[in-house]
Symmetry: C2
């Protein structure tokens, strides 16, 4: 554990952190930021490796017995510089992106097929955690799970649940023998959600905000389920649909 002070925004480490707002730099550095006390504390208590905690002098003087990580004391202006929010908080955790998981363990997973909206990805992770799913699988092309907006939308659940990134149809084909795969879709040869089968090892697929689950996944899945709607709206928000699926699965246990 090391405590240091940085006062210049031109410091190379600070300049590097400021660049973590872009996915390219997060991937290159293998780091992301968890902003604010709640997220920083969750990061510290999680299996993720917290490289550093940036905090203001004031925050440090009130909380210096709370953390046993490397601490960097910085002026508020530096936190503002690296922060994604308009009203930045007094502490930011610099966290190492988790190692890629290669194998699925037994259990229930949500597979997000090409979700574009960071808020949707984050909200699905939050609900999957709340309903004790075993993990969230993100396809190639999904919003980056380490983006500030996703992290915020998870409300910290990113630190509670397994996230498996950059997967595709080949991955689903490979695990198909061991996992039942159910897609949600609006139409087609689908069944009401209430009637879907729920297995111990099960992957539930939700699809892109505009185009839904891709045809190639629909072709290989075991069941297709829809959520009955009676109003004029053409569809549900995908994080709502995913959450209703998880609620329904949870109710079967």
């Amino acid at each position: 554990m090391e405590i240091r002070k940085i006062t210049s925004a031109q410091n190379e480490y600070i300049k590097m952190l400021a660049k973590l707002s872009s996915k390219k730099h997060r991937d290159e550095e293998g780091l992301f930021l968890a902003e604010g006390e709640h997220l920083a504390q969750m990061a510290v208590m999680s299996d993720y490796c917290v490289e550093n905690l940036l905090m203001t002098e004031e925050y440090y003087s009130n909380n210096n017995d709370k953390f046993s990580c490397n601490i960097t004391i910085v002026p508020r202006s530096i936190i503002e510089k690296i922060s994604d929010t308009k009203t930045p908080q007094e502490i930011v955790a610099v966290v190492k992106t988790e190692q890629e998981e290669t194998d699925l363990t037994d259990g229930k997973y949500i597979y997000c097929d090409n979700l574009q909206d960071p808020g949707n990805v984050g909200t699905i992770i939050r609900t999957a955690d709340a309903f004790s799913f075993d993990g969230v699988i993100l396809s190639e092309g999904c919003a980056d799970v380490y983006s500030p907006k996703v992290i915020r939308s998870t409300q910290g659940s990113i630190f509670n649940i397994k996230i498996i990134r950059n997967r595709n149809i080949e991955f689903l084909k490979k695990v198909k023998n061991d996992f039942m795969i159910t897609s949600t879709a609006l139409y087609g040869k689908s069944m009401e959600l209430k009637k879907m089968t729920v297995k111990k090892n099960h992957i539930f697929v939700v699809g892109n905000e505009g185009s839904g689950v891709s045809k190639e996944i629909l072709d290989i899945c075991d069941e297709i389920a829809y959520i009955p709607m009676s109003g004029k709206a053409e569809s549900l928000n995908v994080s709502v649909a995913a959450s209703i699926v998880m609620y329904e699965v949870k109710n079967r246990e």
Copy 2:
């Protein structure tokens, strides 16, 4: 039906429209914007009064038989000026904010107590429409339903469903004789969602993102229900919670 052309961004009408990004001006003018073909078409087909359709010359020449409203042809730069999105579309509807509804008709309603996030308000309106609820009631202090972000999140459902704005605890006290009132809350003397009563005339209350349903509403409601969670997440996103409540209500019919 009138067709005119405006080319100057300094035109007084255009300057007024550009100000509709702020709630103050939307309230003063009694107008809001529905951006893009999908929303503009839904506005035209709805009970709302579309004062004007702004469109580019190109859009007009391809679609001039589609609309029987007042049309203003403008350069793309003007649409960019009044638009909330980074990639503005070719058509924007200028819509009159609906008259305040004073009485509730029979049916099922979601009451949003002080929701701050426009995406949550919009998503709840979208789900309420999908599950054919009779309306969405917004308390004083909720994100403005006519803000561009709410309108976008509703995906057009704002034009399908009754919205009742600026209500408060007095409103709930007044309708309490005719409507059952159920709040969702995390803890307390609450029952599992599955066990809640569902009546023909029923208001379901969801609460602020941080603090939940206010105590004064919890005190007057007939039942308090919670969604069982088993994971580490402390709570669900409020639009997810509201959607699960509506799904559950729908399932009882």
